[in-house]
């Protein structure tokens, strides 16, 4: 067995000095070590996108990254977007447009969409679909998710 290593990770703005086993996945670190269970574990091999978080602002699959690789980095999870009663604009839009049914894919969808919204103009629905291609949803058929992201883009254009 390999021993543990000391790392320092910032998650949603708070800094955590912790000791981790090298093989610990970032997603398990978030859920088990920190108790942040908003990030979901789906396929655990990089296919479904449910575990998507932001690493230094870039969306990444938390099941394809070791916690130890997050040493010195800043991670954002769905818990950092908002909370019940105080959802952010993207979360409100998912609510308004019925962009979720079972909710399992939702944290990953929200984090990927957050990354897309901060980087790209998303001028067409195809841009949104292309950007979300790495997140699987088995309920909605994606239509309402695209609508929810589209509404945020349109609102942003209307009030720059």
């Amino acid at each position: 067995m390999s021993g543990t290593r000391d790392i320092t990770v910032t998650v949603n703005g708070a800094t955590y000095p912790v000791s981790v086993e090298p093989r610990l996945l970032l997603v398990d670190f978030l859920r088990h070590t920190l108790g942040l269970t908003g990030t979901h574990v789906g396929c655990e091999h990089g296919v479904c996108g449910a575990c998507t978080v932001l690493v230094d602002g870039d969306s990444a699959r938390a099941c394809l990254m070791l916690a130890i690789q997050a040493d010195g980095r800043s991670i954002d999870t769905v818990e950092g977007l908002g909370r019940i009663g105080q959802m952010n604009a993207l979360q409100e839009s998912f609510h308004t447009h019925h962009a979720l049914q079972c909710g399992f894919c939702t944290p990953g969808m929200l984090m990927t969409a957050t990354d897309l919204l901060q980087k790209y103009p998303l001028a067409t629905d195809d841009d949104i679909r292309r950007g979300l291609s790495g997140n699987l949803c088995r309920c909605t058929g994606y239509e309402h998710i695209v609508r929810a992201v589209r509404a945020v883009v349109d609102k942003r254009k209307a009030a720059p």
Partner: protein, 285 residues
């Protein structure tokens, strides 16, 4: 699936990384972006005793655009290629191919060097490297050596890399401004590995005829291929419908893919012809 246990090191220099590889006698694996390696660990396809994380080697993150071509460091991510202002003009075929690599989140982490070392026969970059006569620079205990892409890929997930060697960069020869190119890929879902893909370019001569054709095929053999038979068919000719039809037939005839769970060999054989046909039409504009 949780990963098997392993030791971990994050060296600050390439020399240190080489020494770690050498000391572990083939039992160590390099960790670049981890987008292929971590699933392999999860599935127990790989169970190295040591992971050597290249994350601190910032000298491997450079992209250099010069008169003699484009040189890209092994730790450059797909996202860095797509975001690089000069690369779109300096190597449009590379950029077109990278747009087909996996998904947004994977492109934020996956690297050039990782893709070359992983050597998936259906991956885009190995195919582009072979098509474009790329050179791959590696460093090991014995020093640095340069391996031509055509000699680098030995089979599915097999390369010419020795156990103590690290890819440092890949060099793509200069791209003339008048060069025509096309990249065409078919996958069942966006972001999946290609069932087949074609990377093509040529330099039109004064009469607009094809000169210096390079035709690459991805996903139809144990490693990416150059299709010399197709190049012979189109070199010296105008890319009219008849020539493109002959190229399509020659591409299908040139390969003999095996059946697998994703597609039959016969289907892939047909598909590579269609991919070459579409890539050539796109190149001819």
């Amino acid at each position: 699936m949780k990963l098997p246990p392993f030791e971990y090191a994050c060296p600050a220099t390439i020399a240190e990384a080489v020494a770690l590889l050498a000391a572990h006698n083939g039992e160590a694996k390099l960790l670049a972006g981890g987008q292929s390696l971590l699933p392999m660990l999860a599935f127990r396809v790989a169970a190295p005793s040591l992971l050597v994380d290249l994350g601190k080697l910032s000298e491997l993150r450079q992209i250099r655009v010069a008169d003699e071509g484009v040189t890209i460091g092994a730790m450059v991510r797909w996202r860095d290629v797509l975001a690089h202002a000069q690369l779109h003009a300096a190597h449009p075929l590379l950029v077109a191919a990278v747009q087909h690599v996996a998904h947004h989140q994977i492109r934020n982490r996956g690297t050039i060097g990782g893709s070359l070392a992983h050597a998936d026969p259906a991956a885009e970059l190995p195919g582009v490297a072979v098509t474009c006569d790329a050179d791959i620079t590696v460093v090991g205990r014995a020093g640095e050596r340069v391996i031509a892409a055509r000699d680098f890929f030995r089979g599915p997930l097999m390369t010419a890399l020795k156990a103590d060697e690290i890819i440092t960069e890949v060099h793509l020869p200069a791209w003339p401004a008048r060069r025509r190119f096309g990249f065409c890929e078919f996958a069942r879902r966006r972001g999946d590995f290609a069932l087949a893909a074609a990377a093509v370019f040529y330099d039109p001569d004064g009469a607009g005829h094809v000169h210096n054709a390079h035709i690459g095929a991805i996903g139809v053999a144990d490693a990416p291929l150059r299709l010399a038979q197709v190049e012979l068919v189109i070199n010296g000719r105008a890319l009219d419908d008849a020539t493109i039809a002959r190229a399509e037939a020659a591409a299908s005839a040139a390969v003999d893919p095996a059946d697998d769970i994703h597609a039959s060999g016969a289907y892939r054989k047909h598909l590579i012809g269609v991919m070459v046909e579409r890539a050539l039409r796109s190149a001819a504009g």
